[in-house]
């Protein structure tokens, strides 16, 4: 398979990553340990889109409130839909990033970064890039954690069954619902 085929055939890992992240955030109330960054708060914010796998015309756009905790979102999951886009917030050491993460390519859109202090144009540019890099690094470290799990047998043996249970649950998840490796 050439590179383009691999890119296209493995795009499903993006929506699966967002589903796993949502599950993990639900279990740990959004407070996650991120390699190299310590405790980071990851919040699924007020907009989420779920799409049917292989049938992208079937779509649920949930806006306002906290869609990740809504019965509508769980219903969409039970109907086989997967997260294709989510508005998110990340809080680290009192600094907050908000952005939309698009699952298909893991692209960041409409990002708002913590306040930039520099007044000089060039300094402001370096600060903006530093803050973007920090956001990218947090997301990439989470994605790397997901891949180490997803590409090992513990995904099928422990995580996927736990996610099935979570999808079927109406109550909020607790840390006990997340499998121990």
């Amino acid at each position: 398979m050439d590179l383009l085929d691999l890119i296209n055939s493995q795009r499903f890992l993006g929506p699966e990553f967002l589903m796993w992240l949502w599950f993990k955030c639900d279990c740990f109330d959004g407070l996650l340990d991120v390699e190299g960054h310590g405790k980071v708060e990851v919040v699924f914010d007020d907009a989420m889109t779920l799409e049917a796998y292989m049938a992208e015309t079937e779509r649920s756009d949930l806006k306002g409130g906290a869609p990740a905790f809504s019965p509508e979102a769980k219903t969409a999951l039970r109907h086989g839909k997967r997260v294709s886009k989510a508005k998110m917030r990340i809080v680290k050491e009192g600094r907050e990033w908000s952005f939309t993460l698009k699952a298909e390519n893991l692209d960041i859109a409409s990002a708002k970064i913590p306040a930039v202090l520099s007044r000089d144009d060039d300094e402001r540019f370096y600060e903006r890039m530093y803050l973007l890099e920090e956001l990218e690094e947090i997301l990439e470290n989470l994605y790397e954690e997901f891949l180490h799990i997803r590409l090992a047998s513990r995904w099928g043996e422990l995580v996927l069954p736990a996610m099935h249970k979570w999808i079927g649950m109406d109550d909020l998840a607790t840390p006990e619902h997340y499998p121990v490796f």
Binding site: Q10, E16, L106, A111, I113, Y143, W155, G156
Partner: protein, 211 residues
């Protein structure tokens, strides 16, 4: 816009390959070679792309101070396109054809005459209008080998990717779940699995819904 201020919606690319030793001189020459050249009414091109100064999109006077920012190469990717409304073109063409037939005492026009008239009308309309301009910021973080490009349109991203590769003679890989995975510290088994793993079934064992 985007790198210095405003909207932070962008596409991430990974750069493949190493910088040449004399990259500053080499790249400055390559950028100047592919600098933005405005469209003219006479030219047949409907669209053109080229590099501009990131902070001054009408300027193509490149030097190290306005291209290299410490560990970054910053440029504007400018794309201009003639956009003549089809109804306007059609109306002017009909007028021109009628006038031509009267002047030449003709009842019908050949295909060649029609095409020639269309070219002349288009040129006249181009002379009276200005092309649609789009400038997109590009910021290349050299040490991290990352390029951020302030557009997520797949057509524009493909155009940019090709233009970047032509300018710097380095390959770009657009970020996506598979390419991100290749950047991580995955072992041989994981890399193999990354290429072959299949979608999970999230529905198995999930109880049905009562309506």
């Amino acid at each position: 816009m985007g790198a210095f201020q405003g909207n932070l919606t962008y596409k991430l690319f990974y750069v493949q390959g190493e910088l040449p030793e004399d990259w500053k001189t080499l790249y400055l020459t390559s950028i100047r070679k592919l600098e933005f050249v405005p469209l003219t009414a006479d030219a047949e091109d409907e669209e053109t792309v080229g590099w501009v100064n990131i902070e001054r999109p009408l300027q193509t006077d490149f030097h190290l101070d306005n291209v290299v920012f410490n560990d970054f190469i910053n440029l504007g990717f400018r794309k201009d396109r003639w956009t003549i409304p089809s109804d306007l073109l059609k109306a002017h063409l009909e007028e021109a054809e009628a006038e031509y037939m009267i002047q030449n005492e003709k009842k019908h026009l050949s295909r060649f005459e029609r095409d020639d008239l269309k070219k002349r009308v288009k040129k006249l309309l181009k002379e009276r209008s200005i092309p649609k301009m789009k400038v997109i910021d590009m910021s290349w973080e050299l040490e991290q080998k990352r390029v951020r490009f302030w557009s997520q349109s797949s057509t524009v991203c493909e155009l940019f990717q090709e233009f970047f590769e032509e300018t710097f003679d380095l390959k770009l890989l657009p970020a996506n779940p598979y390419i991100h995975g290749l950047q991580f510290d995955l072992d041989e088994d994981e890399l193999q699995s990354l290429a072959t793993v299949e979608p999970s079934n999230f529905m198995a064992g999930v109880p049905g819904i009562d309506y």
